[in-house]
């Protein structure tokens, strides 16, 4: 040992060849430039939304536009809350989002588990999975009129149920496809061990597969919820007054007399907030869920 330690340490760091400084600098520029561009693209509209909601009319209509608010005001928020029954519409959005997400995740993960594990006859697994995806391949507007008529005949127009059913249907293919991928990552031997331990198919699913897939379920649920929360086209089509959700209310500020930017942006902020807080709270699961299986533990 003494002989080893007496060998003088080589100044390895200094003698190692550095990449040429020009290329290092240009790589750095490229990298940070790209990140900055991506951040700008995401944050500037958001900043514009938030700042506009605090501007006076003269400021948000100014030409050239004013980026920074000099005299900020809460007037937009005050009008928004005093003139609209926001609580009711907020509740609509919450109920519709939670119910459709819960339904889509429950039904979707059951379907995904079957498609991932069972060997259906006539190679139906692939056909069924593809068929579900097919429902997302045409623009939703293509089915708008028949869909409206169906919902009308079911007497569900302007009810929360109309939107719950619609969003569940929208989100199902998405949940199924995401969850098939996650379930296929669950080692088959775990389920074989559970079989030996006395579990039937249902117990294997609820006691082994679902708990392991927790992060994936959370990630899928978040993405479904955001989709339902922000959906506009079907919400505006299927609701009148009672079952309106926040995006529909927001669109209502485009009036024949002009755009009520202050209220619209204020509601925009109010709508973003719960999703933002929720996403921050479960961010850990989201990242883990979306990268599940990418790295072996």
């Amino acid at each position: 040992m003494a002989a080893v330690s007496s060998v003088p340490a080589r100044p390895a760091a200094r003698s190692r060849r550095r990449p040429s400084s020009v290329s290092a600098v240009s790589w750095g520029l490229l990298r940070w430039g790209t990140i900055a561009l991506a951040l700008l693209a995401v944050l500037v509209p958001f900043f514009w939304l938030v700042s506009t909601s605090f501007k006076r009319e003269v400021d948000y209509l100014a030409d050239p536009p004013r980026f920074l608010v000099e005299n900020w005001t809460l007037a937009g928020y005050e009008t928004l809350f005093s003139r609209n029954d926001l609580g009711h519409f907020f509740l609509n959005s919450v109920v519709v989002t939670l119910a459709s997400t819960a339904l889509a995740v429950t039904l979707g993960s059951l379907a995904a588990y079957t498609l991932a594990r069972a060997r259906l006859p006539f190679k139906l697994n692939g056909a069924l999975a593809f068929w579900m995806l097919l429902t997302r391949m045409y623009p939703a507007i293509a089915t708008a009129i028949p869909y409206f008529l169906i919902i009308r005949d079911l007497q569900l127009l302007d009810t929360r149920w109309a939107l719950i059913v619609t969003y569940t249907a929208f989100n199902l293919p998405f949940v199924v496809w995401l969850m098939i991928g996650f379930f296929e990552e669950v080692p088959a031997e775990l389920e074989r061990a559970a079989m030996i331990d006395g579990c039937g198919a249902w117990q294997r699913f609820t006691r082994i597969v679902l708990p392991i897939s927790g992060p994936a379920l959370v990630a899928t649920a978040i993405l479904s919820a955001i989709l339902a929360w922000n959906e506009f086209l079907f919400a505006v089509m299927l609701t009148r007054t009672e079952a309106k959700t926040l995006p529909v209310v927001m669109a209502g500020f485009i009036t024949d007399k002009g755009m009520l930017w202050d209220q619209m942006t204020a509601l925009g902020v109010v709508t973003v907030l719960p999703v933002l807080l929720f996403a921050l709270a479960v961010q850990r699961y989201l990242v883990r869920g979306l990268t599940l299986g990418a790295v072996k533990e």
Partner: protein, 360 residues
Amino acid sequence: MASVEFVHVSKRYGRVEAVSDLSLRIADGEFMTLVGPSGCGKSTTLNMLAGLDEVSAGEILIDDEAVTGMPASERDIAMVFQSYALYPHMSVRDNLGFALKVHGEAKAAIAAKVDRAAAMLGIADLLDRKPRQLSGGQRQRVALGRALVREPRLFLLDEPLSNLDAKLRVQMRAELRLLFDRLETTVVFVTHDQAEAMTLSDRVAIFDRGVVQQVGTPMELYDAPANTFVAGFLGSPPMTFLEATVADGAAGPMLAGEGFALAAPAPRDRLRRGQPVVVGIRPEDIEVSRDAAGHPAATAISLVEPMGSTTIVYAPLGGKLIAIETDKGTDLAPGDPIGIGVPPDRLHLFDPETGRSLSA
């Protein structure tokens, strides 16, 4: 405690026959090892017994009761998987108690059984950890514990040692044998490692390409292999096979090949002159003579491998490199001329066409 019987069992995947016409009886309390190279059908056989794979034809009996269509969950067997298959979201304690919980046992009874199994395996201090916080050897013990807790009538072990490093594997091998000696339960053990098969088992069934080649105690198989596959599979270094022809010698029939002649084993009357045979020689049966000049099987050493307790020497003979086990203090060196002799009763003779033993 249970006996197991396979009656003409086959398993086909499409057109591939993974196991063909298997008939095998495993006695109550026996430690039976299914051994063979990968893809030989041993794991498929175990999975069929567990109820994880369906049987294509034939019947499987446990305690003389047909279980062929019975789901795995109802067979009252425990299994240890090669990957251990511990439930990653449960603590060690919950992993051990899971089967009992599924079967609706009382909490207190589960706790008592889990504690006892944990003590038996020396993992009592790990009970609150999650599987990912355990080393390979610890996971292995938990997997074993999960099987033990059940007190099943049958233990199935699928390559349970092959994910351990070499040193730990040998240690766990001995522990396994002690453990199952104490439990006196029927065990079916699957491995590709001939050393595990030899050391652990009461009896061994050797598989190749879906067919059982021979069943017997380890020493029966080692001493009287039924064919060249069994002979070559058991033993390390393996038996050397030399091509030879039966010829007349001064003291009776000889086995003559390329550059060697050896006295044929008794009984000699079944050997015809000119008959081609395959001669199997185990490394430890060879007697080395320093007097190579004029020796009927003369060669020169090409390689010396000291193993510690013994030394393995390699020399070319009959177109092959023959392995010879010698004492550890040997002064044989590469290039030394030697003569090779084998006591006739230690030779194994096989039919070159079928590979079957001619000794039986």
